[in-house]
């Protein structure tokens, strides 16, 4: 049957075009619904991703959090060679302890193993850094027997 409609013999192509247009419309509708509303505010990303990245709870408290309760220790530390060492370098993560000291007790680290983590001789360490060979320098006993942990002396 010959078509005598407005598009004549190209009518089937118009149907295809219509189908594609419908597809495009569906795509645009889906996009309008599914793309988060804050996408693209600051750049090509969801603006609330900034907040998401900031929403993590603290695990380390930071050395400023220790001084208010442990003022003497802080003062002792500030005098000596360990002044630049953060409390949590040795005592581990303490945000829980800073929030509730009774519920979460801080640990006293081992008086030898921890010290050697930094001070055991390793040729890759800067020569100016205080290092010892634990086989010769006090092979037995805790380092804290002679060196106060917070103000370790010479």
């Amino acid at each position: 049957m010959v078509m005598s409609g407005p598009f004549g013999h190209g009518e089937h192509l118009v149907r295809v075009a219509g189908l594609l247009a419908a597809g495009l419309l569906f795509f645009l509708l889906a996009r309008a619904v599914l793309v988060p509303s804050d996408f693209g505010v600051y750049g090509h990303y969801r603006a609330s991703a900034l907040a998401d990245n900031r929403a993590r709870p603290l695990v380390h408290a930071g050395r400023a959090a220790c001084a208010p309760c442990h003022a003497e220790r802080a003062a002792e530390l500030a005098k000596g060679k360990h002044a630049g060492v953060g409390c949590e370098s040795c005592h581990g993560a303490l945000a829980a302890h800073a929030a509730d000291a009774k519920a979460h007790k801080a640990r006293k680290p081992d008086g030898r193993a921890l010290c050697l983590t930094c001070h055991r001789f390793n040729v890759a360490r800067p020569a100016s850094f205080s290092q010892v060979d634990p086989r010769e320098h006090a092979p037995e006993g805790a380092c804290t027997d002679c060196h106060a942990a917070h103000d370790p002396g010479p």
Binding site: M1, V2, M3, H9, G10, H12, L19, R31, V35
Partner: protein, 400 residues
Amino acid sequence: MEQLLSRVDGYMYPNEVELQWSVLIVLYPFITGLVAGAFILASLERVFKVDAVKPTYRLALLTALAFLLVAPLPLQLHLGHPERSAQMYFTPHSSSAMAMFGFVYLWYLMGVLLLEIWLEYRPEFVAFAKATPGWRGRVYRVLTLGSYDVSPEALHIDDRVGWALTVIGIPSAFLLHGYVGFIFGSIKANPWWSTPLMPIVFLFSAIVSGIALVLLMYVVTCWLRQQRTDMRCLDTTARYLLYAFLIDFSLEMLDLLHRVYEADESFKTLDFMVQTRLYTSQMVVQIGLGTVAPLALLALTQIVGMSERARRNSYVVAALLTLVGIFAMRWNVVIGGQLFSKSFLGYTTYKMAFATREGLLATVLLLLTPFGILWGLVRLLPPWAEAPAPERPPALPAAS
């Protein structure tokens, strides 16, 4: 993973030890390559009027469609969150080759391939819609989109539009697979991938693999239908395979020569990788079995006089070896690019699992699926006119 650590040679950045892209990402360029290649072969007939390959025209289009439909599957299986993959279409990052490729794929599928196949088969749809009973008849009626005009004028319009689509389709096919090459070639962090030659090498190897596949499909389907193969068609297809292969081989050799000569920072580490961890897949499979052997065989058929049967068998063997070789090429690019450290100081290994989401079993199944789809397509859209289909009209008669 602990096993992987123990098989690291030298130094790798800790996060590099496990490969990021698995064999599924090898499959993906292989499949899209077959699509682009099959389409370009089909376009030879339509646009460049190479009549000899006409018997493969419809088969090539259907093959391209079957593989194009499967192409996104390895990607979906690989993604950490496939349910979010629509985000690539809703909020594509314009600087990302991967995002832009999603639209190239969509354009090629909807705007080029499906439309061209629909126009090609419209006379059949209309005829079958009227004649076929039951659910199959319903399918055909839907496929006609409600239009039953197969007058000479309408078919002439189809022919012109189809021609125009093929003309647009050739650069689209180039874009489809060249883009995949660009996805790798634009990564400056990876010296094995980063070269401007990458899109071109990918494209030509795609053409080679696509022609090889259609050649094989043609021989196999003729055998299944117990029909004689049109030797003129087969000879011409094989000749095009040879030409494309020569170009592809030259391009890859150019890349290699360039690297060897310039010998930049990455060269020693890549060279060592090729000579050790990548030796079998690169030297033996890709270059030996997959390139030199089929090239020699194809060249032989052109130089030496051979019987029909001998030529046909040579073509089949050459095509099979070619497909293996092109798969190996994708493997060497994707996996090879991750076996060495970006510190240029070490190597890792790739452990392909079997029954996992990204394992060998999934790969094999994904490779078989297009053939299943093709089988269905051939049933629904017969590439061979058992009854003569309405011939395309030569030219519209002058209006009177």
